[in-house]
Amino acid sequence: MATGAEAASGGPEPEAAGHSPRRHRSVITQQQDAASLGSDMSPASTVASPVVVLERVGRHFGAQVALRGVTACIRPGEFVAIIGRSGAGKTTLLRCLSRAIVPSEGAIRMGGYDLRPLRGAALRAHRARVGVIYQQFNLVRRLSVLDNVLVGRLPHLAGWRRYAALARAFDAAHREAALRCLDHVGLLSRAWQRTDTLSGGEQQRVAIAKLLAQEPRLILGDEPVASLDVINGAMVMDTLRRIASAAGLTVISTLHHVEYARRYADRVLGLRAGQVVFDGPPRGLDEAALRTIFGSVPDATENDLPLDRLAEPALATN
Protein backbone atom coordinates (compact mmCIF):
# COMPACT_ATOMS: atom_id res chain seq x y z
CA MET A 1 0.00 0.00 0.00
CA ALA A 2 1.33 3.41 -0.90
CA THR A 3 1.62 5.37 2.29
CA GLY A 4 1.63 9.08 2.79
CA ALA A 5 4.90 9.04 4.65
CA GLU A 6 6.68 7.34 1.78
CA ALA A 7 5.38 9.83 -0.72
CA ALA A 8 6.14 12.83 1.44
CA SER A 9 9.75 11.80 1.86
CA GLY A 10 10.17 10.91 -1.77
CA GLY A 11 11.90 14.07 -2.94
CA PRO A 12 10.66 17.07 -4.91
CA GLU A 13 7.06 16.07 -5.43
CA PRO A 14 4.07 18.33 -5.80
CA GLU A 15 2.54 19.07 -2.44
CA ALA A 16 -0.36 16.70 -1.95
CA ALA A 17 -2.36 18.74 0.52
CA GLY A 18 -4.01 22.09 0.15
CA HIS A 19 -4.21 24.41 -2.79
CA SER A 20 -1.35 24.25 -5.20
CA PRO A 21 -0.24 27.38 -7.04
CA ARG A 22 0.76 25.20 -9.97
CA ARG A 23 -2.74 23.99 -10.51
CA HIS A 24 -3.59 25.87 -13.65
CA ARG A 25 -0.21 25.68 -15.27
CA SER A 26 0.03 22.91 -17.75
CA VAL A 27 2.14 20.22 -16.15
CA ILE A 28 2.32 17.95 -19.08
CA THR A 29 3.07 20.33 -21.86
CA GLN A 30 4.52 18.82 -24.95
CA GLN A 31 8.14 19.34 -23.91
CA GLN A 32 7.63 18.14 -20.37
CA ASP A 33 5.69 15.21 -21.66
CA ALA A 34 8.69 14.02 -23.59
CA ALA A 35 11.10 14.84 -20.78
CA SER A 36 9.46 13.67 -17.59
CA LEU A 37 6.61 11.41 -18.49
CA GLY A 38 7.38 10.30 -22.00
CA SER A 39 10.23 7.99 -21.13
CA ASP A 40 8.49 5.03 -22.69
CA MET A 41 7.49 6.73 -25.90
CA SER A 42 9.55 5.95 -28.92
CA PRO A 43 11.89 8.85 -29.69
CA ALA A 44 10.64 9.18 -33.26
CA SER A 45 7.17 10.26 -32.20
CA THR A 46 6.96 13.99 -31.70
CA VAL A 47 3.36 13.72 -32.80
CA ALA A 48 2.26 11.01 -30.50
CA SER A 49 -0.68 9.38 -32.22
CA PRO A 50 -0.57 6.84 -35.00
CA VAL A 51 -2.78 7.00 -38.07
CA VAL A 52 -5.87 4.88 -37.55
CA VAL A 53 -7.21 3.16 -40.62
CA LEU A 54 -10.55 1.38 -40.64
CA GLU A 55 -11.21 -0.74 -43.73
CA ARG A 56 -14.74 -2.00 -44.29
CA VAL A 57 -15.04 -2.90 -40.62
CA GLY A 58 -18.08 -5.00 -39.79
CA ARG A 59 -19.22 -6.66 -36.63
CA HIS A 60 -22.23 -8.81 -35.96
CA PHE A 61 -23.47 -10.44 -32.78
CA GLY A 62 -25.19 -13.59 -33.90
CA ALA A 63 -27.71 -12.52 -36.53
CA GLN A 64 -27.69 -8.92 -35.36
CA VAL A 65 -25.49 -6.61 -37.41
CA ALA A 66 -23.91 -3.89 -35.26
CA LEU A 67 -21.41 -2.45 -37.75
CA ARG A 68 -21.28 -2.64 -41.51
CA GLY A 69 -18.55 -1.48 -43.92
CA VAL A 70 -17.10 1.25 -41.73
CA THR A 71 -14.22 2.85 -43.59
CA ALA A 72 -12.31 5.84 -42.30
CA CYS A 73 -8.81 7.18 -41.96
CA ILE A 74 -8.18 9.16 -38.81
CA ARG A 75 -5.20 11.45 -38.92
CA PRO A 76 -2.93 12.03 -35.92
CA GLY A 77 -4.22 14.71 -33.58
CA GLU A 78 -7.79 14.68 -34.85
CA PHE A 79 -10.62 15.04 -32.34
CA VAL A 80 -13.28 12.72 -33.72
CA ALA A 81 -16.80 12.57 -32.33
CA ILE A 82 -18.92 9.52 -33.08
CA ILE A 83 -22.60 10.38 -32.91
CA GLY A 84 -25.74 8.44 -33.60
CA ARG A 85 -28.80 7.00 -31.94
CA SER A 86 -28.67 4.35 -29.25
CA GLY A 87 -27.90 1.03 -30.91
CA ALA A 88 -26.33 2.65 -33.97
CA GLY A 89 -23.03 0.88 -33.30
CA LYS A 90 -21.07 3.69 -31.65
CA THR A 91 -19.89 1.67 -28.68
CA THR A 92 -19.24 -1.39 -30.85
CA LEU A 93 -16.95 0.68 -33.06
CA LEU A 94 -15.14 2.01 -30.00
CA ARG A 95 -14.74 -1.46 -28.53
CA CYS A 96 -13.27 -2.65 -31.82
CA LEU A 97 -10.69 0.15 -31.58
CA SER A 98 -9.76 -0.70 -27.99
CA ARG A 99 -9.70 -4.37 -29.08
CA ALA A 100 -12.17 -5.31 -26.37
CA ILE A 101 -13.86 -7.13 -29.29
CA VAL A 102 -12.61 -8.26 -32.69
CA PRO A 103 -14.33 -7.10 -35.89
CA SER A 104 -16.11 -9.84 -37.83
CA GLU A 105 -15.00 -8.35 -41.14
CA GLY A 106 -12.51 -5.82 -42.35
CA ALA A 107 -9.37 -4.57 -40.69
CA ILE A 108 -8.27 -1.87 -38.28
CA ARG A 109 -4.69 -0.70 -38.44
CA MET A 110 -3.05 1.60 -35.96
CA GLY A 111 0.32 2.95 -37.01
CA GLY A 112 2.08 -0.07 -38.40
CA TYR A 113 0.12 -2.86 -36.87
CA ASP A 114 -3.14 -4.69 -37.45
CA LEU A 115 -5.36 -5.06 -34.40
CA ARG A 116 -6.87 -8.41 -35.34
CA PRO A 117 -4.05 -10.86 -34.50
CA LEU A 118 -3.10 -9.19 -31.19
CA ARG A 119 -2.94 -11.60 -28.27
CA GLY A 120 -1.36 -11.84 -24.84
CA ALA A 121 1.53 -9.43 -24.34
CA ALA A 122 0.99 -7.73 -27.71
CA LEU A 123 -2.65 -7.12 -26.86
CA ARG A 124 -1.68 -5.68 -23.48
CA ALA A 125 0.86 -3.43 -25.21
CA HIS A 126 -1.90 -2.19 -27.51
CA ARG A 127 -4.16 -1.49 -24.54
CA ALA A 128 -1.33 0.41 -22.86
CA ARG A 129 -1.07 2.61 -25.96
CA VAL A 130 -4.79 3.31 -26.01
CA GLY A 131 -6.28 5.24 -23.11
CA VAL A 132 -9.99 4.70 -22.56
CA ILE A 133 -12.30 6.97 -20.62
CA TYR A 134 -15.73 5.64 -19.72
CA GLN A 135 -19.18 6.95 -18.95
CA GLN A 136 -19.11 5.24 -15.55
CA PHE A 137 -15.45 6.22 -14.92
CA ASN A 138 -14.50 2.60 -14.12
CA LEU A 139 -12.22 3.63 -11.28
CA VAL A 140 -11.64 1.23 -8.40
CA ARG A 141 -13.97 2.84 -5.90
CA ARG A 142 -12.36 1.59 -2.70
CA LEU A 143 -8.85 2.62 -3.68
CA SER A 144 -7.42 6.07 -3.02
CA VAL A 145 -7.43 8.64 -5.79
CA LEU A 146 -3.67 8.37 -6.13
CA ASP A 147 -3.76 4.56 -6.34
CA ASN A 148 -6.24 4.86 -9.20
CA VAL A 149 -3.92 7.22 -11.04
CA LEU A 150 -1.04 4.83 -10.36
CA VAL A 151 -3.01 2.12 -12.15
CA GLY A 152 -2.14 4.09 -15.27
CA ARG A 153 1.56 3.54 -14.50
CA LEU A 154 1.21 -0.27 -14.30
CA PRO A 155 2.11 -1.00 -17.94
CA HIS A 156 5.25 1.14 -17.57
CA LEU A 157 6.72 -0.82 -14.68
CA ALA A 158 9.67 -3.09 -15.30
CA GLY A 159 11.53 -5.74 -13.33
CA TRP A 160 11.01 -5.89 -9.57
CA ARG A 161 8.75 -2.84 -9.64
CA ARG A 162 6.07 -4.97 -11.30
CA TYR A 163 6.05 -7.24 -8.27
CA ALA A 164 6.27 -4.40 -5.75
CA ALA A 165 3.16 -2.92 -7.39
CA LEU A 166 1.20 -6.04 -6.42
CA ALA A 167 1.42 -4.69 -2.87
CA ARG A 168 0.57 -1.22 -4.26
CA ALA A 169 4.14 -0.07 -3.66
CA PHE A 170 5.53 2.28 -6.31
CA ASP A 171 8.90 3.99 -6.42
CA ALA A 172 9.26 7.75 -6.08
CA ALA A 173 9.54 8.48 -9.80
CA HIS A 174 6.29 6.76 -10.70
CA ARG A 175 4.48 8.27 -7.74
CA GLU A 176 5.72 11.70 -8.71
CA ALA A 177 4.47 11.19 -12.24
CA ALA A 178 1.06 10.20 -10.87
CA LEU A 179 0.96 13.22 -8.55
CA ARG A 180 1.82 15.48 -11.50
CA CYS A 181 -1.08 14.03 -13.45
CA LEU A 182 -3.39 14.58 -10.50
CA ASP A 183 -2.13 18.14 -10.14
CA HIS A 184 -2.86 18.67 -13.81
CA VAL A 185 -6.56 17.99 -13.33
CA GLY A 186 -6.64 20.09 -10.16
CA LEU A 187 -7.26 17.25 -7.71
CA LEU A 188 -3.89 17.02 -5.97
CA SER A 189 -5.47 17.81 -2.60
CA ARG A 190 -7.66 14.71 -2.93
CA ALA A 191 -4.76 12.29 -3.47
CA TRP A 192 -5.35 10.21 -0.33
CA GLN A 193 -9.12 10.31 -0.38
CA ARG A 194 -11.11 7.22 -1.23
CA THR A 195 -12.25 7.54 -4.83
CA ASP A 196 -15.94 6.87 -4.16
CA THR A 197 -16.09 9.93 -1.90
CA LEU A 198 -15.58 12.17 -4.94
CA SER A 199 -18.35 13.62 -7.10
CA GLY A 200 -18.97 12.32 -10.59
CA GLY A 201 -17.17 15.21 -12.25
CA GLU A 202 -14.18 14.81 -9.96
CA GLN A 203 -14.07 11.07 -10.59
CA GLN A 204 -14.00 11.67 -14.33
CA ARG A 205 -11.09 14.07 -13.82
CA VAL A 206 -9.31 11.36 -11.81
CA ALA A 207 -9.92 9.09 -14.79
CA ILE A 208 -8.27 11.72 -16.98
CA ALA A 209 -5.30 11.87 -14.60
CA LYS A 210 -5.05 8.08 -14.82
CA LEU A 211 -5.20 8.38 -18.60
CA LEU A 212 -2.35 10.91 -18.51
CA ALA A 213 -0.32 8.62 -16.25
CA GLN A 214 -0.80 5.86 -18.79
CA GLU A 215 0.89 8.03 -21.47
CA PRO A 216 -1.39 6.76 -24.20
CA ARG A 217 -0.79 7.28 -27.90
CA LEU A 218 -4.49 7.55 -28.57
CA ILE A 219 -7.53 8.42 -26.45
CA LEU A 220 -10.87 6.66 -26.77
CA GLY A 221 -13.94 8.04 -25.04
CA ASP A 222 -17.03 5.91 -24.40
CA GLU A 223 -19.67 8.56 -23.63
CA PRO A 224 -17.26 10.31 -21.25
CA VAL A 225 -19.69 13.06 -20.29
CA ALA A 226 -23.05 11.30 -20.56
CA SER A 227 -23.45 10.93 -16.80
CA LEU A 228 -22.19 14.42 -15.92
CA ASP A 229 -24.02 17.72 -15.71
CA VAL A 230 -23.27 20.46 -18.22
CA ILE A 231 -20.65 22.29 -16.16
CA ASN A 232 -18.72 19.14 -15.26
CA GLY A 233 -19.19 17.72 -18.74
CA ALA A 234 -17.76 20.84 -20.32
CA MET A 235 -14.88 20.85 -17.86
CA VAL A 236 -14.02 17.24 -18.66
CA MET A 237 -14.22 17.88 -22.40
CA ASP A 238 -12.10 21.03 -22.05
CA THR A 239 -9.46 19.06 -20.19
CA LEU A 240 -9.50 16.28 -22.78
CA ARG A 241 -9.27 18.77 -25.59
CA ARG A 242 -6.40 20.66 -23.94
CA ILE A 243 -4.41 17.51 -23.28
CA ALA A 244 -5.01 16.19 -26.75
CA SER A 245 -3.94 19.36 -28.52
CA ALA A 246 -0.92 19.90 -26.23
CA ALA A 247 0.41 16.39 -26.84
CA GLY A 248 -0.83 15.96 -30.40
CA LEU A 249 -3.01 13.04 -29.41
CA THR A 250 -5.93 11.71 -31.38
CA VAL A 251 -9.23 11.53 -29.52
CA ILE A 252 -12.03 9.30 -30.76
CA SER A 253 -15.10 9.61 -28.60
CA THR A 254 -18.75 8.72 -28.74
CA LEU A 255 -20.86 11.67 -27.68
CA HIS A 256 -24.54 11.59 -26.94
CA HIS A 257 -25.16 15.27 -27.44
CA VAL A 258 -24.65 16.91 -30.80
CA GLU A 259 -23.72 20.12 -28.99
CA TYR A 260 -20.62 18.54 -27.48
CA ALA A 261 -19.59 17.33 -30.93
CA ARG A 262 -20.14 20.79 -32.36
CA ARG A 263 -18.08 22.46 -29.69
CA TYR A 264 -15.16 20.06 -29.32
CA ALA A 265 -14.74 17.89 -32.39
CA ASP A 266 -12.68 18.51 -35.52
CA ARG A 267 -14.52 15.78 -37.28
CA VAL A 268 -17.80 13.99 -36.80
CA LEU A 269 -18.63 10.42 -37.76
CA GLY A 270 -22.36 9.91 -37.85
CA LEU A 271 -23.49 6.30 -37.50
CA ARG A 272 -26.87 4.95 -38.38
CA ALA A 273 -27.73 1.26 -38.21
CA GLY A 274 -24.05 0.38 -38.11
CA GLN A 275 -23.05 2.41 -41.16
CA VAL A 276 -21.24 5.71 -41.49
CA VAL A 277 -23.80 8.14 -42.90
CA PHE A 278 -21.90 11.33 -42.11
CA ASP A 279 -18.19 12.06 -42.10
CA GLY A 280 -17.13 15.65 -41.96
CA PRO A 281 -16.44 18.73 -39.86
CA PRO A 282 -19.06 19.66 -37.26
CA ARG A 283 -20.11 22.76 -39.20
CA GLY A 284 -21.54 20.36 -41.77
CA LEU A 285 -24.07 19.13 -39.22
CA ASP A 286 -27.04 20.96 -40.67
CA GLU A 287 -30.64 19.94 -40.38
CA ALA A 288 -30.41 17.55 -43.33
CA ALA A 289 -27.32 15.85 -41.88
CA LEU A 290 -28.95 15.44 -38.48
CA ARG A 291 -32.01 14.00 -40.15
CA THR A 292 -29.80 11.49 -41.94
CA ILE A 293 -28.02 10.47 -38.72
CA PHE A 294 -30.87 10.54 -36.22
CA GLY A 295 -33.93 10.12 -38.43
CA SER A 296 -35.21 13.42 -37.10
CA VAL A 297 -33.69 16.62 -35.82
CA PRO A 298 -33.04 15.95 -32.14
CA ASP A 299 -34.62 18.99 -30.50
CA ALA A 300 -33.77 17.95 -27.00
CA THR A 301 -30.06 17.73 -27.63
CA GLU A 302 -30.17 21.13 -29.29
CA ASN A 303 -31.82 22.90 -26.40
CA ASP A 304 -30.78 21.37 -23.11
CA LEU A 305 -27.08 22.04 -23.39
CA PRO A 306 -26.34 25.75 -23.02
CA LEU A 307 -22.65 25.16 -23.67
CA ASP A 308 -22.18 28.47 -25.43
CA ARG A 309 -23.42 30.37 -22.41
CA LEU A 310 -20.81 28.85 -20.12
CA ALA A 311 -18.03 31.33 -19.53
CA GLU A 312 -14.49 29.98 -19.91
CA PRO A 313 -13.27 31.15 -16.46
CA ALA A 314 -16.17 29.37 -14.82
CA LEU A 315 -14.92 26.18 -16.40
CA ALA A 316 -11.34 26.67 -15.37
CA THR A 317 -12.04 27.22 -11.71
CA ASN A 318 -13.97 24.90 -9.41
Partner: protein, 272 residues
Protein backbone atom coordinates in the same frame (compact mmCIF):
# COMPACT_ATOMS: atom_id res chain seq x y z
CA UNK B 1 -62.22 18.63 -5.14
CA UNK B 2 -61.48 15.87 -7.61
CA UNK B 3 -57.97 14.58 -7.98
CA UNK B 4 -56.20 15.55 -11.21
CA UNK B 5 -55.77 11.90 -12.10
CA UNK B 6 -59.39 10.97 -11.29
CA UNK B 7 -60.06 10.64 -15.01
CA UNK B 8 -57.40 7.93 -15.37
CA UNK B 9 -58.63 6.10 -12.28
CA UNK B 10 -62.32 5.94 -13.17
CA UNK B 11 -62.73 6.48 -16.88
CA UNK B 12 -63.52 3.83 -19.49
CA UNK B 13 -64.14 0.08 -19.27
CA UNK B 14 -62.46 -1.86 -16.48
CA UNK B 15 -59.07 -3.15 -17.72
CA UNK B 16 -58.63 -6.85 -18.52
CA UNK B 17 -55.37 -8.13 -17.10
CA UNK B 18 -54.17 -11.47 -18.51
CA UNK B 19 -55.66 -14.43 -16.56
CA UNK B 20 -53.70 -15.61 -13.57
CA UNK B 21 -53.45 -19.19 -12.38
CA UNK B 22 -55.07 -19.87 -9.03
CA UNK B 23 -52.42 -20.09 -6.33
CA UNK B 24 -54.52 -21.91 -3.73
CA UNK B 25 -54.46 -25.33 -5.40
CA UNK B 26 -50.73 -25.21 -5.81
CA UNK B 27 -50.17 -24.15 -2.19
CA UNK B 28 -52.32 -27.05 -0.91
CA UNK B 29 -50.53 -29.52 -3.16
CA UNK B 30 -47.13 -28.29 -1.98
CA UNK B 31 -48.20 -28.50 1.66
CA UNK B 32 -49.50 -32.06 1.19
CA UNK B 33 -46.31 -33.16 -0.53
CA UNK B 34 -44.19 -31.60 2.21
CA UNK B 35 -46.29 -33.29 4.92
CA UNK B 36 -45.91 -36.67 3.20
CA UNK B 37 -42.14 -36.31 2.96
CA UNK B 38 -41.80 -35.21 6.58
CA UNK B 39 -44.08 -38.05 7.76
CA UNK B 40 -41.99 -40.66 5.95
CA UNK B 41 -38.77 -39.13 7.25
CA UNK B 42 -40.20 -39.24 10.78
CA UNK B 43 -40.90 -42.97 10.40
CA UNK B 44 -37.33 -43.52 9.24
CA UNK B 45 -35.81 -41.78 12.28
CA UNK B 46 -38.23 -43.51 14.68
CA UNK B 47 -39.78 -40.28 15.85
CA UNK B 48 -41.68 -41.04 19.09
CA UNK B 49 -42.51 -37.80 20.86
CA UNK B 50 -44.50 -39.60 23.59
CA UNK B 51 -41.37 -41.26 24.91
CA UNK B 52 -39.88 -37.85 25.49
CA UNK B 53 -42.80 -37.01 27.74
CA UNK B 54 -42.79 -40.38 29.51
CA UNK B 55 -39.05 -40.35 30.23
CA UNK B 56 -38.95 -36.77 31.46
CA UNK B 57 -37.88 -38.11 34.86
CA UNK B 58 -34.65 -39.52 33.42
CA UNK B 59 -33.83 -36.11 32.06
CA UNK B 60 -34.29 -34.70 35.55
CA UNK B 61 -31.72 -37.14 36.95
CA UNK B 62 -29.36 -36.26 34.12
CA UNK B 63 -29.72 -32.53 34.70
CA UNK B 64 -29.24 -32.90 38.45
CA UNK B 65 -25.81 -34.41 37.94
CA UNK B 66 -24.83 -31.41 35.89
CA UNK B 67 -25.94 -28.92 38.54
CA UNK B 68 -22.77 -29.56 40.55
CA UNK B 69 -19.78 -28.87 38.36
CA UNK B 70 -16.50 -30.17 39.70
CA UNK B 71 -13.53 -27.84 39.61
CA UNK B 72 -10.92 -30.48 40.50
CA UNK B 73 -9.32 -30.48 37.04
CA UNK B 74 -10.15 -26.91 36.05
CA UNK B 75 -6.57 -25.97 35.17
CA UNK B 76 -6.22 -28.96 32.84
CA UNK B 77 -9.52 -28.16 31.12
CA UNK B 78 -8.65 -24.47 30.84
CA UNK B 79 -5.36 -25.34 29.17
CA UNK B 80 -7.20 -27.61 26.74
CA UNK B 81 -9.45 -24.67 25.87
CA UNK B 82 -6.32 -22.70 24.97
CA UNK B 83 -5.21 -25.64 22.79
CA UNK B 84 -8.66 -25.62 21.16
CA UNK B 85 -8.44 -21.91 20.31
CA UNK B 86 -4.97 -22.49 18.85
CA UNK B 87 -6.31 -25.35 16.70
CA UNK B 88 -9.01 -23.02 15.38
CA UNK B 89 -6.54 -20.17 14.76
CA UNK B 90 -4.15 -22.31 12.72
CA UNK B 91 -6.98 -24.19 11.07
CA UNK B 92 -8.44 -20.91 9.84
CA UNK B 93 -5.02 -19.75 8.62
CA UNK B 94 -4.51 -22.99 6.68
CA UNK B 95 -8.04 -22.61 5.29
CA UNK B 96 -7.28 -19.05 4.17
CA UNK B 97 -4.13 -20.16 2.36
CA UNK B 98 -6.01 -22.99 0.62
CA UNK B 99 -9.04 -20.87 -0.25
CA UNK B 100 -7.30 -18.01 -2.05
CA UNK B 101 -5.96 -19.95 -5.07
CA UNK B 102 -9.04 -22.20 -5.20
CA UNK B 103 -11.38 -19.22 -4.96
CA UNK B 104 -9.55 -17.26 -7.67
CA UNK B 105 -9.45 -20.22 -10.07
CA UNK B 106 -13.03 -21.18 -9.24
CA UNK B 107 -14.52 -17.76 -10.03
CA UNK B 108 -16.11 -17.82 -13.47
CA UNK B 109 -15.05 -14.27 -14.32
CA UNK B 110 -11.42 -14.78 -13.37
CA UNK B 111 -10.62 -18.38 -14.16
CA UNK B 112 -8.10 -18.76 -16.99
CA UNK B 113 -9.93 -21.71 -18.57
CA UNK B 114 -13.29 -23.48 -18.16
CA UNK B 115 -11.46 -26.72 -17.35
CA UNK B 116 -9.53 -25.01 -14.55
CA UNK B 117 -12.77 -23.45 -13.30
CA UNK B 118 -14.48 -26.85 -13.29
CA UNK B 119 -11.56 -28.55 -11.52
CA UNK B 120 -11.32 -25.84 -8.84
CA UNK B 121 -15.07 -25.94 -8.23
CA UNK B 122 -15.11 -29.74 -7.87
CA UNK B 123 -12.06 -29.68 -5.59
CA UNK B 124 -13.85 -27.22 -3.31
CA UNK B 125 -16.99 -29.39 -3.44
CA UNK B 126 -14.99 -32.39 -2.24
CA UNK B 127 -13.38 -30.43 0.61
CA UNK B 128 -16.76 -29.13 1.71
CA UNK B 129 -18.60 -32.42 1.29
CA UNK B 130 -16.24 -34.35 3.55
CA UNK B 131 -16.92 -33.35 7.14
CA UNK B 132 -14.03 -32.13 9.28
CA UNK B 133 -14.51 -35.14 11.56
CA UNK B 134 -13.94 -37.51 8.67
CA UNK B 135 -10.83 -35.56 7.73
CA UNK B 136 -9.75 -35.72 11.38
CA UNK B 137 -10.08 -39.53 11.41
CA UNK B 138 -7.92 -39.66 8.26
CA UNK B 139 -5.27 -37.30 9.64
CA UNK B 140 -5.16 -39.12 12.98
CA UNK B 141 -4.09 -42.22 11.12
CA UNK B 142 -1.66 -40.20 9.00
CA UNK B 143 0.04 -37.92 11.55
CA UNK B 144 -1.08 -39.47 14.83
CA UNK B 145 -3.45 -38.38 17.61
CA UNK B 146 -3.33 -34.77 18.71
CA UNK B 147 -4.06 -31.16 17.88
CA UNK B 148 -1.98 -31.19 14.67
CA UNK B 149 -4.33 -33.71 13.07
CA UNK B 150 -7.35 -31.73 14.23
CA UNK B 151 -5.93 -28.48 12.88
CA UNK B 152 -5.24 -30.03 9.47
CA UNK B 153 -8.74 -31.48 9.30
CA UNK B 154 -10.33 -28.14 10.17
CA UNK B 155 -8.10 -26.25 7.75
CA UNK B 156 -8.77 -28.51 4.79
CA UNK B 157 -12.54 -28.58 5.24
CA UNK B 158 -12.83 -24.85 5.97
CA UNK B 159 -10.51 -24.15 3.01
CA UNK B 160 -13.19 -25.58 0.73
CA UNK B 161 -15.91 -23.52 2.40
CA UNK B 162 -13.93 -20.25 2.25
CA UNK B 163 -12.84 -20.96 -1.32
CA UNK B 164 -16.43 -21.31 -2.38
CA UNK B 165 -17.42 -18.11 -0.57
CA UNK B 166 -14.46 -16.27 -2.13
CA UNK B 167 -15.26 -17.43 -5.64
CA UNK B 168 -18.86 -16.35 -5.23
CA UNK B 169 -17.79 -12.97 -3.85
CA UNK B 170 -15.50 -12.52 -6.86
CA UNK B 171 -18.29 -13.43 -9.26
CA UNK B 172 -20.40 -10.62 -7.83
CA UNK B 173 -17.88 -7.80 -8.20
CA UNK B 174 -18.42 -4.78 -10.44
CA UNK B 175 -16.85 -5.72 -13.80
CA UNK B 176 -16.45 -2.05 -14.75
CA UNK B 177 -13.80 -1.50 -12.09
CA UNK B 178 -11.89 -4.55 -13.33
CA UNK B 179 -12.18 -3.36 -16.92
CA UNK B 180 -10.78 0.02 -15.89
CA UNK B 181 -7.59 -1.70 -14.74
CA UNK B 182 -7.37 -4.22 -17.58
CA UNK B 183 -7.88 -1.44 -20.14
CA UNK B 184 -4.52 0.18 -19.32
CA UNK B 185 -2.79 -3.02 -20.44
CA UNK B 186 -2.08 -4.34 -16.95
CA UNK B 187 -1.29 -8.05 -16.71
CA UNK B 188 -3.47 -10.59 -14.94
CA UNK B 189 -1.85 -10.35 -11.52
CA UNK B 190 -2.04 -6.56 -11.52
CA UNK B 191 -5.67 -6.71 -12.60
CA UNK B 192 -6.37 -8.96 -9.62
CA UNK B 193 -4.37 -6.83 -7.17
CA UNK B 194 -5.96 -3.55 -8.22
CA UNK B 195 -9.31 -4.43 -9.76
CA UNK B 196 -10.42 -7.46 -7.73
CA UNK B 197 -8.77 -7.48 -4.29
CA UNK B 198 -10.05 -4.07 -3.15
CA UNK B 199 -13.56 -5.10 -4.10
CA UNK B 200 -13.60 -8.49 -2.33
CA UNK B 201 -11.30 -7.91 0.65
CA UNK B 202 -13.79 -6.51 3.22
CA UNK B 203 -16.39 -9.20 2.55
CA UNK B 204 -13.85 -11.99 2.42
CA UNK B 205 -12.22 -10.96 5.71
CA UNK B 206 -15.65 -10.97 7.27
CA UNK B 207 -16.23 -14.52 5.98
CA UNK B 208 -12.86 -15.63 7.35
CA UNK B 209 -13.76 -14.34 10.81
CA UNK B 210 -17.20 -15.96 10.66
CA UNK B 211 -15.55 -19.26 9.78
CA UNK B 212 -13.10 -18.76 12.63
CA UNK B 213 -16.06 -18.60 15.01
CA UNK B 214 -17.42 -21.78 13.47
CA UNK B 215 -13.96 -23.40 13.64
CA UNK B 216 -13.84 -22.71 17.39
CA UNK B 217 -17.08 -24.68 17.80
CA UNK B 218 -15.76 -27.51 15.63
CA UNK B 219 -12.38 -27.55 17.37
CA UNK B 220 -14.20 -27.90 20.69
CA UNK B 221 -15.49 -31.31 19.67
CA UNK B 222 -12.85 -32.55 17.22
CA UNK B 223 -10.95 -34.04 20.17
CA UNK B 224 -13.67 -36.73 20.33
CA UNK B 225 -12.08 -38.40 17.33
CA UNK B 226 -8.52 -37.76 18.47
CA UNK B 227 -7.99 -34.30 17.03
CA UNK B 228 -6.75 -32.73 20.27
CA UNK B 229 -8.21 -30.00 22.44
CA UNK B 230 -11.06 -29.92 24.93
CA UNK B 231 -13.23 -32.30 22.87
CA UNK B 232 -11.43 -35.37 24.17
CA UNK B 233 -12.29 -34.43 27.78
CA UNK B 234 -15.89 -33.74 26.80
CA UNK B 235 -16.15 -37.20 25.32
CA UNK B 236 -14.28 -38.88 28.15
CA UNK B 237 -16.25 -37.29 31.02
CA UNK B 238 -19.66 -37.85 29.41
CA UNK B 239 -18.89 -41.44 28.47
CA UNK B 240 -17.68 -42.31 31.98
CA UNK B 241 -20.68 -40.56 33.62
CA UNK B 242 -18.55 -38.03 35.48
CA UNK B 243 -21.40 -35.54 35.35
CA UNK B 244 -19.75 -32.89 37.50
CA UNK B 245 -16.61 -32.93 35.36
CA UNK B 246 -18.63 -32.92 32.16
CA UNK B 247 -20.57 -29.90 33.40
CA UNK B 248 -17.32 -28.01 33.93
CA UNK B 249 -16.14 -28.87 30.43
CA UNK B 250 -19.44 -27.79 28.90
CA UNK B 251 -19.36 -24.51 30.85
CA UNK B 252 -15.81 -23.82 29.69
CA UNK B 253 -16.72 -24.54 26.06
CA UNK B 254 -19.72 -22.22 26.27
CA UNK B 255 -17.57 -19.47 27.81
CA UNK B 256 -14.87 -19.95 25.18
CA UNK B 257 -17.31 -19.85 22.27
CA UNK B 258 -19.03 -16.76 23.64
CA UNK B 259 -15.76 -14.91 24.21
CA UNK B 260 -14.34 -15.67 20.77
CA UNK B 261 -17.65 -14.78 19.11
CA UNK B 262 -17.72 -11.40 20.80
CA UNK B 263 -14.09 -10.63 19.95
CA UNK B 264 -14.42 -11.86 16.38
CA UNK B 265 -17.60 -9.93 15.68
CA UNK B 266 -15.98 -6.77 17.07
CA UNK B 267 -13.09 -7.21 14.66
CA UNK B 268 -15.49 -7.96 11.83
CA UNK B 269 -17.39 -4.74 12.41
CA UNK B 270 -14.16 -2.78 12.60
CA UNK B 271 -12.89 -4.32 9.35
CA UNK B 272 -15.88 -3.29 7.24
Amino acid sequence: MTSPVAGILSHGPSPKAPPRRSALGRTLLTAAALAAVMGLAGRVIELRPLELVRDVGNIGVFVKGYLHPSFAHLDEYAWQCVVTVCIALWGTLVAFVISVPLGLLGARNLSPHPVVYFAARRAMDVLRAVNEFVFALMFVTAVGLGPFAGMLALGIHTGGVLGKLLSETIENIDPGQVEGVAAVGADRLHVIAFGVVPQVLPNFLSYVLLRFESDIRSAAVIGMVGGGGIGFYLWDTIRSFKDGEAATVVLLIVAMVMCTDVISSRIRRAAI
